[in-house]
């Protein structure tokens, strides 16, 4: 019994750790998609931020500077996506794919230039676990939920905050309206372009938190291609959660559980490759089961032109 509870606790802790980058990216994706811009660039935004964070921490020796580097990188790449999709009316899925490839190629290029070789970067100081007094003493869930990195606590706080922002503030209303009926937003004298830049920028900042947690929360180094599809899984979580922060976070937790299980299954039982397939298969099954019924923001994917 003790053993079972113990492994349940460690599974829960692992679920939280795996879900955290997904939650950040999904919340970010929500702002972008709610404003009408498809964001399959989340994968690349996380990757470039994961890298920038490590570079910042490596240069300065401070994790906080790393975080700032990551946020800047996420913002810059998101602004490139916004520039292409909103200003230049490029195809949003193609732009997103290009951002992903740019992040992959760019980090590979910069790894060689900065660290002299590809593969894995030197180790840097990351965000260590900080136990919250009292809460972390609760049996099982205490250590799992409240003995985590500061970024995890930030994730907890951001879920209700994004919910409040998107559904209870004028800014959120404008973002949502821009994704549903941009004409109305335009008529009301609010710039559709500006709202979409805000939406995409927020997605860059939030995805950056997810990326930096990967490279400096879970690990303390950058590895090429380390996001391994997490940006896309986050996007699936967003769709599954019907573009709602609470739903998206819930779905991200489910996928986090899927990822956590892949690390817990004994390798002798099933070949490792099949265990590693689990989160991807889960994503497909969830999308096929529920994705069809999710209704996307009406104006998503379409550039807005003033008539």
């Amino acid at each position: 019994m003790e053993d079972l509870l113990g492994s349940l606790g460690s599974l829960l802790a692992s679920t939280i750790r795996n879900a955290t980058p997904l939650v950040f990216a999904a919340l970010g994706g929500m702002f972008s998609e709610r404003s009408g811009v498809v964001n399959i660039a989340l994968e690349g935004l996380m990757l470039i931020s994961a890298f920038a964070g490590v570079v910042g921490a490596w240069l300065s020796g401070s994790a906080l500077v790393g975080l700032l580097f990551a946020l800047a990188a996420g913002l810059i790449f998101a602004l490139i996506h916004a520039l292409m999709c909103v200003t230049f009316e490029a195809d949003q899925i193609i732009s997103g794919t290009a951002i992903n490839l740019l992040a992959l190629g760019g980090t590979g290029f910069l790894m060689v230039l900065i660290f002299g070789s590809g593969g894995t970067s030197p180790r840097v100081s990351g965000f260590k676990e900080v136990a919250i007094p009292l809460l972390s003493d609760i049996p099982i869930i205490g250590p799992a939920l409240f003995n985590q990195s500061l970024l995890v606590y930030l994730m907890y706080i951001l879920i209700p905050i994004t919910y409040f922002v998107i559904f209870r503030t004028p800014f959120g209303l404008r973002i949502r309206a821009t994704g549903e009926v941009p004409e109305a937003v335009d008529t009301a004298g609010v710039s559709v372009t500006r709202m979409r830049y805000y939406g995409v920028s927020l997605s860059g900042l939030l995805a950056a938190l997810g990326g930096v947690y990967l490279s400096m929360g879970i690990l303390s180094a950058f590895t090429e291609g380390m996001t391994t599809g997490r940006g896309f899984i986050a996007l699936a979580a967003l769709i599954f959660g019907r573009w709602n922060p609470l739903g998206a976070a819930g779905a991200a937790l489910l996928f986090g559980l899927g990822l956590a299980i892949t690390y817990q299954v004994p390798q002798e039982a099933i070949p490792i490759e099949f265990i590693q397939m689990l989160p991807y298969v889960l994503t497909i099954v969830v999308l096929a089961g529920f994705g069809g019924r999710a209704i996307a923001p009406a104006a998503i994917g379409k550039p807005y032109r003033k008539e």
Partner: protein, 375 residues
Amino acid sequence: MSEDRREPEQSPRGSTLRRLLSDAASALVFPLIAILISFVIGAVIMLATGHNPLAAYVALVQGAFGSPTALGRTLLGATPLIFTGLAVAVAFRAGLFNIGGEGQFYIGAITAAGLGVALGSLGPLGTLLVLLGCLLTGFLWGAIPGFLKAYFGAHEVITTIMLNFVAILLATYLALNPLRSEGLVPGTETIDPAARIPFIGLGLGRANYGFFLALLAAVVFYLLLWRTRRGFQIRAVGLSPGAASYAGMGIGVNTVLALAIGGAFAALGGGVEVLGVYGKMSIPFVEELGFTGIGVALLGRNHPIGVVLGALLFGGLTSGAQEMQFATDVPLQLASVLAAIILLLVTATKLVELIVGKRARELASGTHLERETGL
């Protein structure tokens, strides 16, 4: 699509040749602007990192086209990209994104690696059977996202991306377990040389007849889409799903077929790569050819001629990058960066509008989907 559209003021007077030339010229506007800007950005990156862009680009071009060996390397690099480019283009014609070329390529590669060893003793007949096997597995694998899209509403962008991971893991498992060779290099057994695709020779290095198979695939692509009823339906569904459905064309069946045919093209590319270049599938296997296919297809405006030209460009970029790194110390990963920037810019309607004026919007018709994305 621009190549189908006759401009009303031109068609009565202009000759067919003139129309073709003007269509070709306008089809080149988006790609040329994208390529030019990406090379300018590349030059800025090189200046910023203390390299000489002029020397680097000279080395790049020489490494891509400067000698028979370089040209052979470019053809070698372009071959898989023609297949993965066609895989993206056929889906795009049906109004769908196939981001799954990477996984489909792996499915073809492992099929060829497995079947090739089994049928190697049959010689050229074995080659043919192996390639047919790749067509089949690729078709079935490609049909999965089509089926999930048509009947379960799962968006193909995400399902094809997820299936990439599944396919790569599946191929890795097969290559390292049931098909694993006794040798030291992790991967499958080597295929009997008699069943492999032969080299072209002529001083072209390792370039093989797979390049001509790729050209043949481009011809088949053209005939399929523009000379058959099914191809007409696939294009009609892509151009206007509402009208196609009203005309009695099944959206579902054409969705499944377009993605399945795409899968078959990409898998054939994987098979040709195994039979022509490596003679086996070692792990890790070549990466990113499926993703680069997206850039190839869009640069080539989803037309077979454009795809071949796009593949030659990207193939040349990869091939030249090795020479560039050797001669000027610029990391060859710059080629991936340039390719990504080209893809980033190649659909940027407004950007082209800034340069060539209002005509850009009409020229953009080959680069944007008519269908709802809903993602």
